[in-house]
């Protein structure tokens, strides 16, 4: 059984496809804003294409693209009309649904007791414009992480419930992308309100749009989307087909959870540990990594206290520390924890892989460690044979 993400549903059906142009897209911004959404999308800042609050189509990185490799990222202006002609932002949408730091509560002493005020930013309404299919999968994975157990992250779920998602299918493949292996892209299959495919055909620039929810359909109608022609739909399908063909990197996921679980003592872990700086960049840019820690504070009088949560990384030295010692002191054990969690134990925990194939961990690794190469090396000289099937 393949436990990795699969969804065979096809989206481009004639009765669910619209055509919008740049003007309609601007209308989408204003419509969402009018409905109380903070519009978040790609924009050029600090020599990168980042996801931030943007007001209009003017803020989109028109003509800009990105070039990545192991340990490499740069933006370039290739000209042209594309608003979404890049691959990915360094940071994913995670930071909006699961903020890097968040106040959990403040507490005030009241005689000998104390009173607690819980902080909640679940009222915020985000509209994410430009969510890549792999990123959308990452959001669906985090939905599970934060809601599948007995206890949930209520703040995440509140933000998530309020989010409006405009996915944009990929019109170019980055050198670190392997979404095809992970079955997460390059076309969005599920979980969006609206999915767009950007088509640039000479001077003819338009988007083929599909609605994934009732709300999405309603908004598409409101912004004046026209019904897409058969030709336009075919063009959009071509964009996705071209991108699929362009994706050069792959990860063989057959029996992967078992393969890694059975190779915890593989010599490759020592090898990668010699290269890994345990900086934790991979965990910070990963759209599914969810580990966190808390910090308690008080004021000088000791009358008010607070607790905040921040992203943590399994690469930090203190991550597995307890009062009697530390369970993971070696770089080897910490890299292994990260990779086996992502590709193996995650499946047992949440019924799905923790990797969506976005390749950010490869791009942002200062020494260019490529997880697909590490897995390949382990598979090449595995200790135990996996059973067939």
């Amino acid at each position: 059984m393949n436990l990795f993400l699969v969804n065979p549903k096809s989206d481009f059906t004639m009765d669910n496809s619209f055509r919008i142009d740049q003007e309609n897209l601007q209308h989408l911004f204003t419509t969402l804003q009018k409905r109380g959404y903070e519009t978040v999308g790609p924009t050029l800042a600090d020599e990168a294409i980042v996801y931030d609050t943007i007001a209009s189509v003017e803020d989109l990185p028109v003509g800009w693209t990105d070039e990545v490799g192991p340990g490499k990222y740069r933006v370039a202006n290739g000209g042209g009309l594309s608003s979404f002609g890049y691959t990915l932002s360094p940071q994913s949408w995670k930071r909006f649904l699961y903020p890097p730091t968040r106040k959990l509560f403040s507490a005030k002493k009241n005689g000998k007791s104390f009173e607690l005020t819980q902080e909640n930013d679940g009222e915020k309404k985000h509209a994410f414009i430009g969510v890549r299919p792999c990123e959308l999968s990452a959001i669906l994975i985090q939905d599970r992480v934060f809601s599948s157990g007995e206890y949930h992250d209520d703040n995440y779920l509140a933000l998530r419930r309020n989010a409006f998602i405009v996915a944009v299918n990929c019109s170019q493949a980055g050198d670190n992308c392997f979404c095809v292996s992970m079955k997460t892209g390059p076309a969005a299959k599920d979980g969006y309100d609206i999915a767009l495919t950007e088509v640039v055909d000479g001077d003819n620039h338009y988007y083929v749009a599909a609605s994934g929810t009732e709300k999405g359909r309603e908004i598409l109608t409101e912004i004046g989307a026209a019904t897409a022609s058969g030709n336009e739909i075919a063009e959009a399908e071509n964009v996705v087909r071209r991108t699929t063909a362009e994706i050069g990197k792959s990860l063989d996921t057959r029996g992967l959870p078992k393969l890694l679980a059975e190779n915890l003592e593989h010599a490759r872990w020592d090898d990668v540990a010699k290269r890994c700086l345990t900086c934790g960049n991979c965990t910070m840019v990963c759209p599914t990594c969810f580990c966190s820690t808390v910090e308690d504070t008080t004021d000088l009088s000791g009358q008010t206290a607070g607790r905040s949560r921040r992203w943590d990384s399994c690469f930090t030295m203190d991550f597995a520390k307890v009062s009697g010692g530390n369970f993971r002191t070696s770089a080897k054990s910490r890299y292994r924890q990260w990779l086996t969690h992502k590709l193996s134990s995650w499946v047992e925990q949440f019924g799905i892989s923790g990797c969506v194939g976005c390749g950010r961990c490869i791009t942002w690794c200062p020494v260019g460690i490529d997880l697909t190469a590490e897995v390949k090396a382990i598979r090449g000289t595995k200790v135990k044979q996996e059973k067939g099937g």
């Binding site: 520390k321 307890v322 009062s323 009697g324 010692g325 530390n326």
Partner: protein
């Protein structure tokens, strides 16, 4: 006690579990019953090791003269256990004092008698060595665990955030 009775009660000792009848008989021929009152020593550090003991009841403390640190009690052993293997290994002298914490009932096995039997019957000798190796291994394992000082903290991390 008659030898017959002795072999019957000896058989109840875990050291002899599943031992064949022939070997039990051989071992019994070197065994005698012995009682130590509380506060007596079964043997003392430095003495020639001419016997070993299969404890039947009561507890024995193994002590080492620790010089300025006084008498250090390193281990206690009790019913069902084997006490002493110095008779087997050169220079055949005890390395500990063995102190009876309570009245101790034991079988004393005469070492020179046993060694003679082992040398004439290699199968019996092998059986004895195999059983003693197990005792040694268990004792070594326990000593390692004791050495690990598992209840202490692995690192002096007072002041950390716990």
């Amino acid at each position: 006690m008659k030898p017959h009775d002795l072999s019957e009660s000896l058989l109840k000792h875990p050291f002899l579990s599943n031992m064949n009848e022939e070997f039990v008989k051989t071992l019994t021929s070197c065994a005698s019953n012995i009682v130590f009152d509380e506060g007596n020593y079964l043997f003392r550090e430095g003495e020639d090791a001419k016997t070993f003991f299969l404890l039947r009841s009561g507890r024995v403390a193994l002590e080492v003269g620790g010089g300025e640190r006084g008498q250090i009690r390193v281990q206690t052993i009790g019913a069902g256990e084997v006490l002493g293997w110095s008779w087997l290994i050169s220079p055949y002298r005890w390395h500990f004092d063995a102190y009876a914490l309570e009245q101790v009932h034991a079988f004393a096995i005469d070492a020179s008698c046993l060694i003679k039997k082992c040398e004439t019957d290699c199968h019996f000798g092998y059986e004895m060595l195999r059983r003693f190796s197990e005792v040694l291994e268990r004792r070594l394992e326990a000593t390692r665990l004791q050495l690990l000082d598992v209840y202490g903290s692995a690192m002096g991390d007072r002041g950390e955030n716990y």
